[in-house]
């Protein structure tokens, strides 16, 4: 390797922070995009590092994939955002927005690579402070309310996660993740408490039922490029934190609790999906489904763990594509209500393609990676002797698939012709297409043995 691993990680973390200075320059958009691309370059370098510790940091077979997703979506969102918010010109609001995107990316990357559970918690809490500002760029009352709910619910949830970390420190005497993952302990009441607090606490940020209520509001009201960052990469980081706790506290109850919370989250989504009217809230609920599946794969381990990684990768780009497509439609039709978005096929052919493909990808249609990931998780459930749970989960997944695809196809192919009032930029179209294209290659990469 040309650069030492530790230096590469430090540089990877520093660039998005430095991009914050773009605020002071006239070409702040270009600087932000360039910095995001540079971050992606160094993240790719970190991706190629061997698994292990690098000073205060840690790279393993899971976080390296999420790192790549974070940096890629960071690049996509800065480019998309520069087009989506073009009407704001060189306003202070947009400068703050672009700068804070860098800080937000830093907190996510830091949470992933730091080799300390306490500092990981701090990084995840830091994502809340940095991303709340990103929701309120348009300054509408509903945006403010969504940002407030996001802050107060997620922070309260993460406080519970901090109790879990205190209990883990009490039992193991360390918060170093590499030490925790190799440490052994006897099952005890304290570890059971730590596990439950950890799942509920980090599950709040990860959109796991019943502490998910901030998620549809924040995703629904945030600008589309921020919804994409939330859904595609922020939530998987919180679920990754749960994975660390699951691996640390390897007891039967955490397995049962993980399966229970995952299934009940997917059940909740199956119940509410059909009644959604707001396009972005619909995709937010779809994110809950995907996060629950990822958690389930982490809990089951083995082939299901690989299924989770496949879902993380595919979901990141596909859901980003879905939110970018939604943003394009909201800008064109001036409404979030799906009843008001009609005949997309006739009016915006390209967005119709990206919307259909991204929806198929996130809802688990073959041959997308999500479909393969779901198959791996279902088969792992069966091999764990949970055949009835597998059948129940499969039914729920079909219900969600039908609900979300019916709504999208209705928007795309309905015959009414409402007048379009807004135009979308080239950046928006190209990034939406790029995200959807990338999302479709993971199943192929798996089949040729690259993953």
């Amino acid at each position: 390797m040309i650069i030492d691993g530790t230096y590469a990680i430090v540089i990877m973390l520093s660039i998005p922070v430095i991009s914050g200075i773009s605020y002071f320059f006239r070409h702040f958009r270009e600087i932000s995009i360039a910095m995001a691309l540079l971050t992606l370059f160094f993240t790719s370098y970190v991706f190629l590092l061997n698994s292990g510790t690098y000073s205060y940091f840690y790279v393993n077979q899971i976080n390296r994939y999420i790192l790549i997703c974070v940096s890629s979506i960071y690049v996509f969102s800065t480019i998309y955002g520069s087009g989506y918010h073009r009407k704001l010109g060189e306003s202070k609001h947009l400068r703050v927005h672009m700068s804070m995107m860098g800080i937000f990316a830093f907190t996510m990357l830091f949470s992933l690579v730091v080799n300390n559970l306490g500092l990981m918690w701090i990084g995840i809490e830091g994502t809340t402070a940095s991303s709340a500002i990103l929701i309120i760029i348009e300054g509408e009352a509903a945006d403010m309310e969504a940002a407030w709910r996001y802050i107060i619910i997620v922070s309260a949830g993460l406080s519970i996660a901090l109790i879990s970390i205190i209990l883990i420190y009490r039992v193991f005497g360390t918060l170093e993740i590499t030490s925790l993952l190799t440490a052994s302990s006897q099952p005890s009441q304290i570890l059971v408490l730590a596990a439950l607090f950890g799942i509920i606490g980090f599950g709040t940020k990860g959109g796991i039922f019943p502490m998910h209520s901030w998620l549809p509001d924040a995703h629904g009201r945030a600008p589309s490029e921020i919804s994409a960052m939330f859904s595609a990469v922020l939530l998987p980081i919180a679920v990754y934190a749960i994975y660390i706790i699951i691996k640390t506290i390897d007891i039967t109850l955490i397995f049962q609790a993980g399966v229970f919370f995952s299934i009940i989250t997917i059940l909740f989504v199956a119940l509410v999906m059909a009644s959604q009217r707001d396009i972005k809230r619909m995709f937010a609920y779809s994110t809950m489904e995907n996060m629950a599946l990822i958690l389930l794969g982490f809990v089951l381990g083995g082939v299901a763990l690989f299924g989770s990684i496949l879902i993380i990768m595919t979901h990141a780009f596909a859901k980003a594509g879905a939110f970018y497509s939604s943003g394009n439609l909201i800008e064109s039709f001036r409404t979030r209500n799906m009843n008001g978005i009609q005949n997309v096929w006739g009016e915006q052919r390209f967005t119709a393609y990206t919307l259909i493909l991204s929806t198929l990808a996130v809802s688990g249609a073959p041959p997308f990676g999500t479909f393969l990931g779901e198959l791996f998780i279902l088969s792992a459930l069966y091999s764990h002797g949970l055949g009835s749970v597998m059948v129940f989960l499969a039914i729920l997944l079909v219900i969600i698939f039908l609900s979300i695809n019916y709504k999208v196809l209705k928007m795309v192919f309905s015959i009414a012709q409402p007048a379009l009032t807004g135009k979308i930029s080239v950046q928006q179209i190209s990034i939406t297409g790029a995200a959807v294209t990338v999302s479709s290659i993971f199943a192929f990469l798996f089949m040729v043995g690259f993953l």
Partner: protein, 206 residues
């Protein structure tokens, strides 16, 4: 040698301040009550640090005094409009809320004894657990964003107490948590100052 009963008294005062914050109606008073709570907590930690000759605890106590007691109250007070200073907070039946908060307190004491018995009993841990529930109750029972944020500050104070009762975390983690909460506070004040009460939007239903 310090009298343990004296330290326990400080914890009792912290719990009382939480009940007081539940029942207070003037926002400026509430900010002051939570400031007093943070001062009491920092006092407890500093005394404990001096007693145990633990420089990390003393540092933590001083940082809580500066960041949470002083800076937090300054920031919140600065964001309170003159109207909010003198207006009463609108919430449901005060007598009902006081009964519920006492019930929540009893519930938290009992739960702590059941759940945390294997760790041995610590008054500060018990107090922290009770404060955690009071903070959550304050968040859940109020429409005012100021009250909700004060509930969150109470919750963070509770985590510090719970941590002291279970095991002291490394100082670097404690400091980072304090700074994190401060950052969150700054962001929150921006949002709070726009509309001080939570609202219901039709597009955010379902």
């Amino acid at each position: 040698m310090i009298n343990q009963e004296g330290l326990d008294l400080i914890i009792a005062a912290i719990i009382l301040s939480a009940i007081w914050a539940q029942l207070g109606t003037f926002m400026s008073h509430k900010v002051r009550i939570v400031t007093i709570q943070s001062i009491l907590l920092s006092l407890y930690i500093i005394i404990l640090g001096i007693w145990d000759s633990d420089i990390e605890l003393v540092t933590l106590g001083i940082l809580i005094l500066i960041l949470r007691a002083f800076l937090t109250s300054r920031l919140l007070n600065a964001k309170l409009s003159p109207h909010q200073f003198v207006s009463r907070e609108r919430f449901g039946d005060a007598s009902f809320l006081s009964v519920v908060s006492i019930l929540v307190l009893i519930f938290s004491f009992v739960t702590y004894r059941i759940l945390f018995t294997p760790l041995g009993y610590e008054t500060i841990g018990d107090g922290g657990f009770a404060l955690l529930f009071q903070g959550l109750f304050l968040i859940g029972s109020r429409k005012s964003k100021f009250s909700q944020f004060l509930g969150y500050i109470e919750e963070e104070n509770a985590i510090v107490m719970l941590g002291l009762g279970i095991i002291s975390m490394p100082l670097v983690i404690e400091i980072s948590v304090l700074l994190d909460v401060l950052a969150l506070l700054i962001v929150s004040t921006v949002i709070i100052s726009d509309k001080p009460e939570t609202q219901v939007f039709e597009e955010m239903m379902g």
